[in-house]
Amino acid sequence: MTKPESEWTWKELPVGNVVLEPGNASQYRTGDWKTLKPVLKKELCIHCGLCYIFCPDMAYSLDKEGYFIADLFYCKGCGICSKECPTGAISMVLDGEEK
């Protein structure tokens, strides 16, 4: 899909709304469901990867420095990463209130 579905006009829809391109679920912004977002204190992180393993949306990925970071486009703010983190490095904070 070349543009977000909120920009499609009715004339552009394939007959029967058939989805012709695979993999377009990646364009679905589930990130705007959340009220709380995960914030990582890097000094506490031991790079165990449990957040990455437990994340039900596979929103976490490894960055260049070796930290697992949640992609907020997909993160629904469920807080499982924060709950499972063995060192308490991830806290859930209201959007816009993080320090």
């Binding site: 909120s6 006009t9 004339k11 007959v15 029967g16 058939v18 989805v19």
Partner: protein, 391 residues
């Protein structure tokens, strides 16, 4: 000219489905069902029709199988009645939104309660807004003919919509009528093999029936609405091509002796033949009465309807279903909406008659016209009543 034979209407309908060379038939085999699928199961079992026959556990499954089959590009067919259609209703909306050109015959029968097996249009009206092209036919030949018309129409790339052929249960489905059968070579020419636009195939995967967010749902409905509304010229084209092949020409609104008529009866389905007898009797007595028959119910042919009726003084609309607590019968509501806003428009007097198979004879139509003309004369211009109910 094709061979003329006497046959039960349901059996002739099954023969048409065979001649249309369907790939998949899926149906719930017992009440409420007709001889259509009974005969089709024989044809498949005898090897006379090379198709898959799915004998499923419910009508919900029957139409679901057709949706799946049609999505792979198979020409599919089902039929049902009354409670069976009610159980199927969820899937009727899905088939049309997915733009799958399934053809279904409904032998119109009453929805319970009280439990009834006889004819009326309450089943068809329960899925009025399901998005299928919907015909109401008048006799057995029209059922037979519309099987071919419906497949050719629905499968047209510019249409791609499922089609319902409504025929009155028992009054048509279980009677023996003369049929002019069309030669197979002609059918094969009229109805080429189905070439789906999209289909489920492992070589080219697509997703059908995906989820839609509020940000795009309205756009999908607009596309569907425009598709069915703009199918009218194509419907006319297919009827014209069929007429050229058989000599039987069909129209969205049929008229009978409407010239200069002050009063027009408006009917749908098998009522129409009986009403035409009543019109003849009234015309013989010098009364100014004609008949307007609605053949195309969805998309509703507003322009053709207005053209046929706007000049009349009054319309007597005969419904075969009750819209409980509503503005009158469903056909009358449609008629009133079609004429609304015209300064000079006929009064619309509405009767609901013949529900649950109660006989309506030509003399009943005359009584209804008499009653409507008197009521309108006395100032009750938009009356509505259930005809023949004992007080």
């Amino acid at each position: 000219m094709g061979k003329r034979v006497g046959m039960e209407v349901s059996v002739a309908a099954a023969e048409a489905v065979k001649q249309a060379n369907v790939d998949v038939i899926s149906a719930y085999p017992i009440t409420p069902q007709t001889h259509i699928v009974e005969h089709l199961s024989e044809l498949v079992a005898n090897g006379e029709l090379d198709a898959e026959f799915f004998c499923v556990e419910s009508e919900h499954s029957a139409l679901s199988v057709c949706v799946g089959a049609e999505a792979t590009g198979a020409r599919s067919f089902t039929c049902t009645s009354s409670q069976g259609l009610a159980l199927m209703s969820e899937i009727t909306y899905i088939a049309s939104a997915l733009r799958l050109p399934i053809v279904m015959i409904i032998a119109n029968r009453t929805l319970s309660a009280p439990l009834s097996i006889w004819n009326d249009h309450s089943d068809a009206m329960s899925i009025r807004d399901c998005g299928w092209i919907q015909f109401f036919v008048e006799n057995g030949q029209e059922v037979y003919d519309h099987v071919f018309i419906s497949y050719r129409l629905g499968e047209d790339r510019e249409v791609l919509l499922p089609v319902i052929i409504n025929m009155d249960g028992f009054i048509l489905s279980h009677v023996i009528e003369p049929f002019e059968m069309i030669e197979q070579e002609k059918i094969d020419q009229f109805l080429p093999p189905y070439q789906p636009l999209y289909r489920l195939h492992p070589d080219r995967p697509v997703t059908m029936g995906a989820f839609a967010l509020p940000s795009i749902f309205a756009e999908t409905k607009k596309a569907q609405e425009v598709a069915i509304r703009s199918s009218i010229p194509k419907i006319l084209d297919v009827w014209k091509a069929f007429g050229e092949m058989t000599g039987r020409y069909y129209h969205p609104i049929e008229t009978y002796r409407i010239e200069d008529a002050e009063t027009l009866l408006v009917t749908m389905g098998s009522f129409s033949e009986t009403a035409s007898v009543a019109v003849d009797e009234m015309r013989e007595k010098g009364r100014s009465v004609g008949l307007v028959k609605i053949r195309l119910w969805r998309p509703f042919p507003f322009e053709a309807f207005k053209k046929a009726t706007l000049q009349a003084k009054q319309l007597v609309v005969i419904d075969r279903a009750v819209s409980v607590g509503g503005p009158g019968g469903p056909v009358a509501s449609e008629v009133k909406a079609a004429l609304y806003g015209y300064d000079s428009r006929p009064s619309v007097y509405n009767f609901v008659a013949g529900i649950s198979g109660r006989d309506v004879s030509p003399s009943d139509f005359i009584k209804m016209v008499d009653k409507a003309e008197i009521e309108i004369e006395e100032g009750n211009k938009e009356g509505y009543e259930l005809y023949g109910v004992r007080e």
